[in-house]
Amino acid sequence: MITADPMDVPYVEEFRFLPEYLEKAKALIANYPPGRQASAVIGVLDLVQRQEGWLSRTAMDEVAKLLDMAPIRVYEIATFYTMFQLKPKGKYLLQVCTTTPCWLRGSDAIMKACEHAADGKTFSVQEVECLGACVNAPVVQINDDFYEDLDEASLQKVLDAFRRGETPKPGPQVDRQTSAPEGGPTTLRSE
């Protein structure tokens, strides 16, 4: 089930926007005419998630207050979109694509490795539908970036780098420029 029962998640005493996030939220609200501030709700919820890692009920209530809308309207939106996290997540959210192309290219092993790595603190794992990068299957989205053309070994390397606090280079983890052929171009090579 996508929806998290609010009784099953930790209670957060207080939520407050960090100044830089509040500024961004105000800029989002300013995009809409006065009285239509509620239109900014998705953007503002995204800001909350970037700040906190997930959406607590307290934070959603705060968003409702900021946008002068009923809390239930915020809950509706937060539960509708699967990209909003309603439970605390690790620092890095591993979104493993398991749709057919990735599955054919070995996403089962990737999923297993990710599940093994998920400790709830550094890594959390989530199965997602097609991420739209089938040509680079299998794909794992880690926070905002795609890590592509993975196998167990390269995934381990990526995860280890994250564990060390580094940010490995996103994109294909094999010798390949974006979705061009491995080892360099094979067509249109004449001058």
């Binding site: 089930m1 609010p6 009784m7 209670y11 509708f80």
Partner: protein
């Protein structure tokens, strides 16, 4: 006016209506679940599909499609039939087949429409979806497996009730109708969700598994829980009132009723007075009617009229009040009052104490001033009407006094009479807004009138109405919102102190001093019974409440569902309640008790049948001749000039759920009060445990 063709019949329909409405005008039935004429259009159940030409070659949702000129609509073609059958089959995929144990069974839209338009079997062999039930408080029981996601409840809570608490979380198969954070609904109109739900997902909790709709006797009646006079249908089985449902009346309650109207009825089973009692040696002892009448006759026979007083309660029918008035006149007592709360409304011109604009008039108002009233608690259905007006736009709403969340924004103009004075003098900006409106509406509540300076406030409000031109031939924006169902009827009948007579305050003061020796309480419980002193108290009513507790003689009467009675609502509309059940035990109809007692006292009242009492009502005030119609009130000078107090205006109703003997006896109402506290505490406790 667009000309359209429905099933080959050409007709002209008003522009701007939908195809579904046009089909209804043509007398055709279009099945629907999500569409409701008093709610916004959602168009998500897809049950109302019809074929429209010109248009795409597929069926269209008629509820959301406006009519256009030269349209051809087909409602019976094979395409439409197939589409409806398909939609029905999809709706039933996840709907449990538990009709035999479902409270909605027998009055279920889904059941009926599945019979009418559905397929005869299901081709779906997977598991059905299971949805956890939601806790919505003590009035609404949920069985969310049955929900078909029509979103009527969500739209009602958002639009009509104005409490945005219900929503649809998740999506697709995981969509659920929920409050998300578990809590009891905070609306005073939540019972209407049960009526709106086209399936058995939301059912009445107090009525759960009590009865089947087809075994109930239905009686059309009128509600007395507030002064609105909501039209209700009382469903009984044998002597027991099982439930109360709203009746349609666009002039009064549209099709809503408040939770108290609907659910206080279990109070009719508890604390009932079912036989006469006489106090002997400090204790009330069971007696026969004869013994009770003898005790009264012995006492009253020796007293002169000025030492006798009578107070009529807030839920009395006009018949019993006129009988009480005539009896007191016979006994030579001028001390009679129907204003338990001490509202300073004299008999005066009728326009001074009714909601002149009419409840329907709220729709036409373009500036509303609330003075000393909390309509959300005093008359929740009327409050929903004001909210409807607010949602329609271009209506300034201001308030003087203690104003809570009324489900629409109110410009707060001040707390007490001084602010009203300033407003009348044009010193507040809101005066211009009232003046600018063509139809200004001044709603005067009991919070402004039931106080020592009430008469002066009344005069001030009249001055304001005159100044604004709010009283014209085509509009009367002076509106008194009563809290007692019997009040306008009482004032119409002149149950106010006669020449040299005492009002409620005077009667109680007289009791304390010993100047009043006997008091007749006609179902009057909302007075300070401690102040009755040593007076001989006769209580006639249906519940063992404050009045009966203090009484020396108790005469068991009938509650509003147990007698035919006339009630005049706050707008001055006389409506008839009908008997749905018989009163318990030895209890009798109230006017008949007074008639029998008058005989015993040697002051026999000149009527023997209900018809004769009703004739007498018309003699006293001819407005009683017009049933179900609002009789315009006269206008004139009323109120009294006098010093204004400093105290703020506060609604007399501090607790919506318990305002009368019936609701005080009701366990459901007690649960409602407890639940609001409980939910908040339960959440906090659980939150603490989760850390």
């Amino acid at each position: 006016m667009p000309k359209i063709k429905i099933d080959g019949v050409e007709m002209e329909v008003p522009a701007g209506i939908t195809i579904l409405q046009a089909c209804e005008l043509a007398g055709l039935e279009i099945p629907r679940f999500c569409y409701h004429e008093r709610l916004s259009i959602a168009g998500n159940c897809r049950m109302c599909l019809v074929e429209v030409k010109p248009g795409p070659p597929k069926p269209q949702a008629s509820c959301a499609l406006p009519v256009a000129d030269k349209q051809e609509i087909f409602t019976t073609t094979p395409m439409v039939q197939k589409a409806r059958r398909g939609v029905m089959e999809f709706l039933l995929i996840n709907h449990p087949l538990d009709c035999p144990i479902c409270d909605q069974g027998g009055e279920c839209d889904l059941q009926d429409q599945a019979m009418g338009y559905g397929f005869d079997r299901s081709r779906y062999h997977e598991n059905k979806r299971a949805v956890p039930d939601k806790e919505l408080g003590p009035l609404v029981k949920t069985s969310m497996n049955r929900c078909i996601h029509c979103t009527r409840c969500i739209r009602f809570a958002t639009e009509v009730a104005g409490t945005e608490e219900l929503g649809a979380t998740g999506r697709g198969e995981s969509m659920e109708v929920t409050t998300y954070v578990e809590h009891a609904l905070t609306s005073e109109l939540s019972g209407n969700l049960v009526d709106l739900c086209p399936v058995g997902a939301l059912t009445s909790k107090p009525y759960a598994f009590e009865a089947r709709s087809w075994e109930l006797t239905k009686t059309e009646s009128v509600d007395v829980m507030d002064a609105l006079g909501s039209n209700i249908r009382v469903d009984t089985r044998g002597a027991q009132v099982m439930r109360v449902l709203p009746r349609l009346n666009d002039d009064v309650n549209e099709e809503w009723i408040s939770d108290k109207t609907r659910h206080a009825i279990d109070g009719l089973r508890y604390q009932r007075l079912d036989r006469p009692y006489v106090r002997k040696g400090g204790k009330l002892v069971e007696a026969t009617w004869d013994q009770a009448f003898t005790a009264i006759a012995e006492k009253l026979g020796k007293l002169e009229g000025a030492k006798i007083a009578a107070i009529a309660g807030d839920q009395c029918d006009a018949e019993s009040m006129v009988a009480l008035k005539d009896l007191m006149a016979g006994l030579g007592s001028p001390n009679i009052d129907c204003r338990q709360d001490g509202a300073r409304l004299e008999g005066g011109p009728r326009g001074s104490y009714i909601f002149n604009a009419g409840i329907r008039g709220i729709d036409q108002a373009d500036a509303i001033l609330l003075v000393g009233t909390n309509p959300r608690w005093e008359a929740p259905v009327l409050n929903a009407r004001i909210r409807k007006r607010y949602l329609h736009g271009r209506c300034a709403i201001g308030g003087i006094g203690l104003i809570d969340d009324l489900s629409y924004p109110v410009e707060r103009l001040g707390m007490g009479p001084a602010s009203l004075r300033e407003l009348v003098d044009g010193k507040l900006g809101f005066f211009e807004k009232l003046k600018a409106g063509k139809n200004p509406l001044i709603i005067l509540g009991m919070g402004a009138l039931a106080r020592p300076d009430g008469a002066a406030v009344l005069a001030l409000a009249r001055e304001l109405a005159d100044k604004l031109g709010a009283v014209r031939d085509d509009w009367n924006g002076f509106a008194v919102l009563h809290t007692a169902a019997a009040r306008v009827g009482g004032l119409d009948l002149g149950l106010v102190p006669g020449e040299g007579g005492r009002d409620v305050e005077g009667i109680l003061a007289g009791c304390e001093k010993g100047e009043i020796a006997a008091v007749y309480l006609l179902a009057a419980d909302e007075i300070a019974t401690k102040r009755l002193g040593k007076a001989f108290v006769i209580y006639q009513g249906h519940h063992g409440d404050a009045g009966a507790n203090r009484a020396d003689v108790v005469l068991p009467g009938a509650a509003y569902t147990e007698k035919p009675g006339a009630y005049v609502n706050t707008e001055g509309r006389m409506q008839l309640a009908r008997r749905a059940a018989y009163p318990p035990g030895d209890a009798r109809e109230d006017w008949a008790i007074l008639r029998a007692l008058s005989d015993r006292l040697g002051k026999t009242l000149p009527y023997d049948t209900l018809e004769q009492v009703r004739e007498r009502l018309v003699c006293v005030n001819k407005s009683f001749a017009a049933i179900d119609q609002q009789q315009a009130g006269g206008w004139g000078t009323f109120g009294a000039s006098g010093p204004l107090g400093d105290a703020m205006f506060a609604s007399p109703i501090a607790n919506f759920y318990m305002t009368c003997a019936i609701s005080r006896s009701s366990r459901t109402m007690a649960e409602c009060i407890a639940s609001r506290e409980e939910f908040a505490q339960r959440y906090l406790a659980r939150a603490r445990r989760m850390g």
